[in-house]
Structures are given as C-alpha cells and as structure tokens.
Symmetry: C2
Subunit: 197 residues, 2 copies
C-alpha cells in the first residue's frame, strides 16, 4: 500500500518552518535547504509545494495574516464599537515575541512587494479587509457615542492603519527600545483622542 501523505498538513508544516526560520535568520539567511531541514523534510521535498523561495515568502505572509485574523476573531467575540476596535489593534500591534516575529516576516514581504505586483496586490487586498473591519467598528463606536472626534472616519482609519504598520517597523527594528507597554500606551492615548473630551 502506498504511504498516504497528508499534503495539506505537509504544506502547513513547511509554512510554519519558514515562519520560524525567517524570524530567526531573516530572509537572506533562510535557504530552501534550511527550511526543509527545520520542517523535517529532505531537501528536494519542498519543490512540489513551493517551487521557489518566493512562493514560500508569499505563503508565509498569508499565514501571518490569517493567524492575526484568527486571534482577532477570538479576542473580539462579543465586543462592539471602541472595545472591538481596541481588540483589533491589540492583535495587530507587535506586543509580544510571536507578533514581533510576525513583523520580521512581513517586512521582507513588503520589500519583495516593491517590485512584485502580485505581492503588492495581496498586501493591498489584505489591508483593505482590515480597513473594512475597522470601518465597521468605528461606525458603531460613533453610534454608541464613544467616538466624537471631528476627524472623518476615513482619516481615522488611515491614521490607525499607518500607526499599526509603522509599529511593525519600530518593534521589529529595535524591540528592546520600544517596549510593548509603550505601544499599548500609544494606542490607548490615541483612542482617547477620538472620544468625548
């Protein structure tokens, strides 16, 4: 009987291994061989799943995005308005080692996306999804009287989006100088700016 191979699981193992390797060594340092070893595969075993390292990087970005969305779904269950917006932002902000590692994967992806329209499109679609989520919470927060700022919802979402993305750079670049507590305080202070004086 031929060995039954769970291709979906294999793919997942590989993506997880990429995640760990890139977080540890950066993209330059991660060879297809290292990734295969980390995932417990023979060197050639990667090809059927990811023909090139580039495919792996795209897949790792998708993985991080989905992982973040799963955390958001968990922590924002039953929340609305400002509380839901806060829960969303807290899962995107690099507030612990796992999420700082995620930032370390996303930055190389951005770098690749600069010259790769398909990657840029994937980034844009993912961010659009986040913008829509935030827009929903923000509208609700207005209805609930939690947000009273004169700034338009569009401007607020742009501000939040930039802040969340910028925080990835700050935390990935120098985590010891930009502690989670600071990012947290920065977010709280911003949300407070949106509310009634």
């Amino acid at each position: 009987m031929p060995k039954i191979v769970d291709h979906h699981q294999r793919r997942l193992d590989l993506v997880n291994a990429t995640w760990r390797i890139i977080a540890r060594h950066g993209i330059e340092g991660a060879t297809m061989r290292e990734i295969a070893t980390e995932a417990g595969f023979a060197n050639g075993a990667l090809k059927p799943y990811f023909p090139t390292k580039d495919d792996l990087i795209t897949s790792a970005f998708g993985h991080v995005f989905n992982q973040t969305n799963q955390r958001i779904a968990t922590t924002s269950t039953g929340l609305a308005g400002m509380a839901a917006l806060r829960a969303f932002a807290l899962e995107v902000l690099p507030l612990d080692e796992d999420r700082i590692n995620e930032a370390r994967i996303v930055i190389p992806f951005w770098q690749k996306a600069l010259t790769d329209p398909a990657k840029a499109q994937l980034h844009e679609t993912s961010m659009e999804e986040w913008r829509n989520t935030m827009a929903g919470h923000l509208s609700r927060a207005r209805e609930m009287g939690e947000v009273t700022a004169r700034a338009s919802n569009e401007d607020i979402i742009n501000q939040l989006m930039s802040m969340l993305l910028g925080a990835q750079i700050i935390a990935a670049m120098s985590p010891t100088q930009h502690l989670p507590a600071q990012l947290n305080a920065q977010l709280e202070a911003y949300l407070l700016l949106l509310g009634p004086a």
Copy 2:
C-alpha cells in the same frame, strides 16, 4: 599631470545613481554593474567607494535621511510649535514622486536592518534625532496653547513616528490607491485632534 579626481563628488554621484536605480528596479534588480553604468563609471570603479552593495544601501539610507532633513530645515525656517511640527511631518510623508522613491529605498534598508545590527543602530539613531526634533516642536506647541490633548508628549511622538513610518509602506506599496491628498488630510485631521476642541 595626473588627473585630479574629486572623490567626494564621485561618491556623491554613485550614491545618487544608487538612489535612482533602487527606486526603479528595487534592490534585487540593482546590480553593482547597473549602478556603475548609471553613474557613468566603469564596472570596477565602485569598489574603492563601496566595497559591497550592502555599503551602498546603507549610504543610500543616509542620503535619503540627510535629504529629508535638508528639506525640513528649509521649510520650517521661522516656524514654531504646531506649524513647525506640520512642516516636519509634511517633508517626511511620501507626498510626491521623489519622496515615494525615498520610501522605496528605505524599505529595503529596513529589511536588511532586521539581520544587521549596525543598520538597525543607524535607523535607531536617525529616528531618535527625529523624535527629539518633534519633542521640541510639541513642547513649544503646548506652551503656545496649540496642543491641549490629554495624551502625553511621549505618546503623541510615538503616534506621529508610527504614522510617518507606516505611511512609507502604504505609499510605496500602492501609490495609486493612497494619494498624497489622503495622507495630507490624515495628518491635518490628526493635528486637529491634538488641539483645543
């Protein structure tokens, strides 16, 4: 008589050429040979100035940082408080093609800095300089009654810093979908949040 070579000018020409090449092709696409050709040099002529492409990238980051600071110095002459803070932010934000190109240089630098402590340090020192500049303007804006928000100056600077860095990513990734007018509106709306209601 031996030809007199202006080494400082040569170095500057090379850095400018790198700037143009990286902006056009991305870092992956820029070979030392292309950069030399663009700068009007023979292939081997780069080595004495920049032994590796890595040295060139670091230098290009420094170049962009200095260029931005020169623009800031020009546009904020005679301004204080909120007006100076606005002028500062407007020069860092990627509001035109030149500054979007700068963002396209800075993102690959960040990616390299993830695994290169010297680059991360250069980033950190540069950002610290910007933080101090913003802190000065913000204190003055408080004194002048232009900033009345309950948020601490530290939180405001962190917010601005994240927003300015995040905007680089957003504009570099999809400039056609994130127009300068939006970034501008987003900044104005944010500065308004800081002022008296």
